[in-house]
C-alpha cells in the first residue's frame, strides 16, 4: 500500500511512538491516512502534503520530509530565497537585518522573494484586466499555495481551467536568479545551489518537481523552523558589530534589496490582492474553508469575483506548519514591520507591462502536466462498486468513530470494496455480529436427535438456529443473563417461560428432570413457534452435551 517512490512523499510517520489514536486520520483532507495494526500508515498516492496531520499528532510522530539543512554549508555558491513570511518570525528585527543574518550563516546571496512577488502581482493585475465580459473565465484562482494546487488536481479537477495562467513566483525566481548568478560568477548553472526557506511541508522534497511548474534548475528547500535558532543567534550577534558595518547593509543586486512594506503582506491571507487594482476578490484561508469554497466553486458560484486567493494554512503562510513562531504572533510582527517600512511598489508598471506582453509570465497548467506532477490518481470505481459501497455503508453504524482505522464510515465502506479493509474491522459491527460469526450456529432440530429430546410443542420453530445456552429456573435471572439465540434449560414448565423466551429471543426451551408443561404452555409455544422439548435428564447433563455438540 505504501508505494515508495511512486510520488513525492511530504511527511513521514514514526510508527514506534504512534499509539493509533487516529487524530491524523480524521484531519486529512484527502483521506490519505489509515490505522492498521494500531499504527498510522500513509496512502502515499493520496497524500498532497497539506500538513494538517503534523500539528494534530499528540506524540509528534509525524514529521515533514525536509532537506538536511546543514548541506548548504558544503555548497560552493549557496543562495537563499527568502519568502516574506520569514520576517514575521522576528519581532522588532527589520528585514534587512534578517537578510544580513542569513549571510552571516554562510549564504553567499540572499534573494528577497518580494522582488518577484511584485512582478507577479503586476502580471496578475494585467491578466484580470485582459479578461473579457464579466463572469467569463472568472474567478481566477491563485496558484501561489502549492497545497491548493494539489488539492484541485486531486479533488477538484474541473476547476483547473480557472487556475491563474501566470508563472508562479517561485519558479520565476529560481529560473531568473540561477541564470543571473551563474553568468555573474562565470560558472555553470548547476554550480549555483538554491535553497528555498519554507513555511510549509509541501515543497519539502529535493526535487523541484513539486512546484507545479517544473523547473530544470536545481533548488532545495529548508524549513524555517530548521534554521530559526541559528538565524536568531546570528541576528543577535549583529548587534555587537559597529553600526553601518558593510555586512549588515550589503546588497549587490536589486533582488537582494530588503522588501518594502507592501510586499510583506504576501505572508498573510488577503495579501495577494491588497493594494492592487483588483477590486473584486476574496481571500480564503484554512483547509476546511478552502475545501468548502472549492466545492461551491464547482457548483458554479462566485463568478462575480475576479480573483480568489486560497491558502490552506489558517491566516495564510504565517500559519504554516514549519513556521517557528505562533501564527497570530507572527501576523502581529508582520503588521508592525509594515507600519515601520515604506509602502511602495518595487517595480515600475510600464516595464512589467512590456515583459507581460512578451508572455514571459505565462504558463498554463494543463491536466496532462498536472498528472505528470501529481502522479496517478485513485483507481476509479465502477457503478457496481458504488452500489456495493452503499450497501455496506447502510449496514455500518454511522458514528464515524474511526475505530476501524478509516476516517469515517463512508471511507471504510469504500476501503472494503477496494479490498483494503475487511468488514469485520468495524468494531461496532464486529461486536453485533460476533455471536453468529464467531461461534457456530446450529439448528434446533439437530439438538432434538442428538439429545434424545421429546418435542412437546412449537414444531414450526425447528428450523431456528441456536448458539450457546443458559441454565436457570429463576425467571428474572434468565431475563437478566440469557443471550439471544440461546438454548434455555429449566425445570419450570408454566406458560411464562414462553413469554421469557420470546422477550429474550431464545431459540428453544428444554424442560428438564421430567417436568411437564400444561396445555396452555404448549399452546403458547405453538403460537410463538418456540420449540418446547422434554427430557428426564438434568440440566447439567444436557448442557454438557450441548457444549460437546457446539465444539464439533
Amino acid at each position: 500500500m505504501n508505494k515508495a517512490g511512486s510520488l513525492p512523499c511530504y511527511v513521514s510517520f514514526n510508527s514506534r511512538d504512534c499509539t493509533g489514536c487516529g487524530a491524523c486520520v480524521k484531519v486529512c483532507p484527502t483521506k490519505a491516512i489509515r490505522i492498521k495494526d494500531g499504527k498510522s500508515i500513509l496512502l502515499v498516492d493520496s497524500c498532497i502534503g497539506g500538513g494538517e496531520c503534523i500539528g494534530v499528532c499528540p506524540r509528534e510522530c509525524i514529521t515533514p520530509i525536509t532537506y538536511p539543512y546543514g548541506q548548504f554549508k558544503k555548497a560552493r555558491l549557496p543562495v537563499v530565497l527568502v519568502p516574506p513570511v520569514l520576517y514575521s518570525q522576528f519581532a522588532h528585527v527589520p528585514p534587512k537585518k534578517v537578510l544580513a543574518g542569513l549571510k552571516r550563516m554562510g549564504f553567499k546571496h540572499t534573494v528577497d522573494m518580494s522582488y518577484f512577488l511584485t512582478m507577479f502581482k503586476k502580471a496578475t493585475e494585467q491578466h484580470i484586466q485582459s479578461l473579457g465580459t464579466p463572469g467569463e473565465g472568472r474567478p481566477v484562482i491563485s496558484t501561489l499555495c502549492p497545497v491548493v494546487l494539489r488539492l484541485i488536481a486531486f479533488r477538484f479537477p474541473s476547476l483547473m481551467g480557472l487556475l491563474h495562467p501566470v508563472l508562479r513566483p517561485v519558479s520565476l525566481m529560481v529560473k531568473d536568479v540561477a541564470t543571473f548568478l551563474a553568468r555573474h560568477h562565470g560558472v555553470a548553472i548547476g554550480e549555483i545551489s538554491i535553497f528555498y526557506l519554507n513555511p510549509c511541508s509541501t515543497k519539502m522534497t529535493p526535487e523541484s518537481s513539486t512546484h507545479h511548474h517544473t523547473t530544470p534548475y536545481p533548488s532545495r528547500t529548508i524549513g524555517i523552523n530548521q534554521i530559526y535558532a541559528e538565524l536568531k543567534h546570528e541576528i543577535k550577534s549583529l548587534e555587537s558589530l559597529p553600526l553601518n558595518s558593510p555586512l549588515a547593509s550589503e546588497h549587490e543586486f536589486e533582488f537582494e534589496e530588503p522588501p518594502t512594506g507592501s510586499s510583506l503582506l504576501w505572508a498573510i491571507s488577503g495579501g495577494e490582492t491588497a493594494g492592487t487594482t483588483i477590486q473584486n476578490s476574496i481571500a480564503i484561508s484554512g483547509m476546511d474553508q478552502t475545501i468548502e469554497y472549492l466545492e461551491k466553486l464547482e457548483l458554479g458560484l462566485f463568478k462575480e469575483y475576479d480573483f480568489i486567493e486560497f491558502r490552506t494554512c489558517r491566516e495564510g503562510c504565517v500559519g504554516g506548519p514549519l513556521c517557528a513562531v505562533d501564527k497570530y504572533g507572527a501576523k502581529n510582527n508582520l503588521l508592525q514591520h509594515i507600519a515601520r517600512l515604506e509602502i511602495k511598489d518595487r517595480h515600475e508598471k510600464s516595464p512589467i507591462k512590456n515583459v507581460y506582453a512578451k508572455e514571459r509570465f505565462f504558463d498554463r497548467l494543463t491536466s496532462a502536466k498536472m498528472e505528470k506532477i501529481f502522479g496517478q490518481k485513485k483507481e476509479p470505481l465502477s457503478i457496481a462498486d458504488l452500489t456495493n459501497i452503499n450497501q455496506i455503508y447502510d449496514q455500518l453504524p454511522g458514528f464515524n468513530c474511526s475505530a476501524c482505522g478509516a476516517p469515517d464510515c463512508r471511507t471504510f465502506a469504500e476501503d472494503v470494496v477496494r479490498g483494503r479493509a475487511a468488514l469485520g474491522e468495524c468494531r461496532i459491527l464486529g461486536q453485533k455480529i460476533s455471536p453468529d460469526k464467531r461461534s457456530k450456529m446450529l439448528k434446533v432440530k439437530d439438538l432434538k436427535d442428538r439429545l434424545n429430546l421429546v418435542l412437546a410443542a412449537g414444531e414450526e420453530g425447528l428450523d431456528r438456529s441456536f448458539s450457546g445456552g443458559y441454565c436457570g429456573d429463576l425467571l428474572s435471572d434468565v431475563m437478566a443473563n440469557a443471550l439471544e439465540h440461546n438454548v434455555w434449560l429449566t425445570v419450570q414448565a408454566h406458560q411464562n417461560i414462553v413469554a421469557v423466551a420470546v422477550l429474550k429471543e431464545i431459540s428453544c426451551i428444554i424442560i428438564t428432570c421430567g417436568n411437564r408443561p400444561d396445555q396452555a404452555t404448549c399452546r403458547k409455544a405453538d403460537e410463538e413457534k418456540i420449540p418446547l422439548f422434554l427430557s428426564d435428564r438434568t440440566a447439567f447433563d444436557l448442557a454438557a452435551e450441548v457444549g460437546l455438540l457446539q465444539a464439533e
Binding site: 474541473s158 466545492e295 461551491k296
Partner: protein, 142 residues
C-alpha cells in the same frame, strides 16, 4: 450493468443545506472518474435546480440515476408550478423576491443555464401542479 439510483431531499427555504446534495452527487461522479467537464455541468444543473426548489417551491427531491452511458438528474417539487414555461426559460426572467436577489440568486439565469449545460432537458409544470425537471448527460463509456 446495474443502474445506481440515489435520492436527495431538498427543503424549502433551507439555504444552509442547499448545495449539499449537488456536492454529494459531484463526489459520486468523481469517484467514477467522470470527466471534469461533465462533473461541472451536472454540478451546475443540480445546484440551480436545488436553488429553484429552495426559493420557489415547497419541499422537493432530486433523483440521480447512473448508468454506464448516461447520468440522469430529476428534480421534482410540489410547489406552485410555472404559469408560462416559455417565459420562465428566458434569460433574465425571474419571479424571485428581493430577499433572494440580495443573496445573489434569482437573476433569471437558472432554467436557461440548466438547459444550456444538460444534453437533454425537459420541464413539466403547470399552476398548482408542481414542477418536474429531467436532465440527461451523456457520459459515453463506463
Amino acid at each position: 450493468m446495474e443502474n445506481l439510483v440515489k435520492t436527495f431531499l431538498i427543503k424549502h427555504r433551507d439555504f444552509v443545506h442547499a448545495g449539499k446534495p449537488s456536492i454529494e452527487i459531484k463526489n459520486i461522479l468523481k469517484s467514477l472518474n467522470t470527466s471534469p467537464d461533465i462533473i461541472r455541468r451536472v454540478a451546475v444543473c443540480g445546484y440551480e435546480g436545488e436553488m429553484n426548489v429552495v426559493m420557489h417551491a415547497c419541499n422537493g427531491r432530486m433523483d440521480l440515476e447512473l448508468s454506464a452511458t448516461r447520468i440522469k438528474l430529476r428534480i421534482r417539487d410540489k410547489g406552485p408550478g410555472i404559469k408560462d414555461i416559455d417565459q420562465a426559460m428566458q434569460v433574465g426572467f425571474s419571479t424571485a423576491p428581493d430577499e433572494f436577489r440580495e443573496l445573489g440568486f434569482g437573476a433569471g439565469m437558472g432554467l436557461p443555464n440548466m438547459k444550456k449545460n444538460a444534453d437533454q432537458f425537459e420541464i413539466i409544470s403547470g399552476p398548482g401542479e408542481g414542477t418536474t425537471i429531467t436532465m440527461e448527460f451523456k457520459t459515453g463509456g463506463g
